[in-house]
């Protein structure tokens, strides 16, 4: 009698474990298959433009690195063009001298430091090397910008009308 019950219990546990195993295997393989793939070019070191071509008072876009280059105190800084809020591409506004994101109105200074808007932090920066006068941007190692509210380290207030009409 008791043996009968034990066997029944054993079988029940057995098939439950089996079903569980198949389930876990299914979830694990699905998970693995869905992992994002590598994208070519971006994510490594990207050769861009000569150092002399990097502007002092504006920025220049380097599409291959998905970044802007600008020179601050004689040093080249690579600022990621992707908005740290929700990923829109942030255009540079020439008239106001700041980055103005069209999506939810976040604003950043020339170094990518958060100025206003809903963004939780400043734009990411990439490490830069100068080799033979050419700017090499290491897109594999972005450095997150400082949180919103951190004091700006360059003194460049808004210099003119912003690119948004009717903005707040």
């Amino acid at each position: 009698m008791s043996e009968e019950i034990e066997r029944r219990e054993f079988l029940k546990k057995g098939w439950m474990a089996g079903a569980g195993l198949i389930g876990v295997a299914g979830i694990w393989t699905t998970w693995d298959v869905l992992q994002p793939g590598e994208s070519a070019g971006f994510g490594g070191e990207v050769r861009t433009i000569p150092e002399e071509a990097v502007p002092q008072d504006g920025v220049v876009a380097v599409p291959a690195a998905r970044a802007y280059l600008t020179s601050i105190d004689g040093e080249v800084v690579a600022v990621s063009e992707t908005c740290p809020h929700l990923g829109c591409r942030v255009p540079w506004c020439e008239s106001s001298g700041q980055f103005e994101c069209p999506c939810h109105g976040s604003i950043f200074n020339r170094k990518g430091e958060a100025r206003e808007g809903p963004t939780p932090r400043g734009m990411s920066r990439y490490p830069v090397q100068i080799i033979d006068g050419l700017v090499i941007v290491n897109t594999g190692e972005p450095e997150e910008g400082e949180p919103m509210g951190t004091a700006e380290t360059i003194d460049e207030p808004k210099r003119g009308p912003s690119c948004a009409e009717g903005s707040h």
Binding site: C88, R89, C101, C103, G105, P118, P120, C163, S167, H168
Partner: protein
């Protein structure tokens, strides 16, 4: 219908008792609670409802073309960048709160709240008159959500700045 005490005849509520025969002959009073055959009573109504919906869609499609903007360009974010209208309320919230709040907590909270609703509200009454708290809460939520949707959809322009829909139209469908 009326505020008066219901008239009860044979244990059933009636609207009123009038002497005499109606002009069109004896009329059968339909009992609201009486079970009747779904075929044809309900199926015919559903058929009509389905036809009405289909006609609306087919006519809309005849007169309005679906939008198609320029080909996707990762180098250029359109300004303004508009979410589809059913996410306009979320987009509006995203312009004011940390993305973790507006993009994660609020939607998750709404879904959990909706799922939990029937288990929280155990009051068996059906008429809104006897469900003041539930009705008020739900209504406030709906109104807030609709207003946010309208703002995000119609009142936002370049750089998510305020625009009046009768001056500039940026809504996207």
């Amino acid at each position: 219908m009326s505020d008066r005490e219901p008239v009860v005849v044979d244990g059933k509520r009636v609207l009123g008792v009038v002497p005499g025969t109606p002009p069109g002959g004896e009329r059968k009073v339909l009992d609201e609670q009486e079970p009747v055959m779904v075929w044809p009573h309900l199926l015919v109504r559903h058929g009509v409802a389905a036809l009405v919906v289909l006609v609306v869609v087919l006519l809309l499609a005849l007169f309005f073309n679906a939008p198609l903007r320029e080909i996707a360009n990762p180098m250029d974010t359109p300004n303004p960048e508009k979410a589809p209208w059913y996410f306009a309320a979320l987009q509006e919230l995203l312009a004011h709160f940390h993305p973790m709040v507006a993009g994660v907590l609020v939607p998750t909270g709404i879904i959990i709240g909706l799922v939990a609703l029937p288990y929280i509200d155990r009051n068996p009454r059906l008429s809104p008159r006897f469900r003041k708290v539930a009705v008020a809460t739900f209504t406030v939520f709906m109104v807030v959500w609709i207003v946010l949707t309208l703002i995000g959809f119609m009142f936002r322009g370049p750089n998510w700045g305020w625009v009046w829909p009768w001056q500039d139209w940026y809504g996207e469908l």
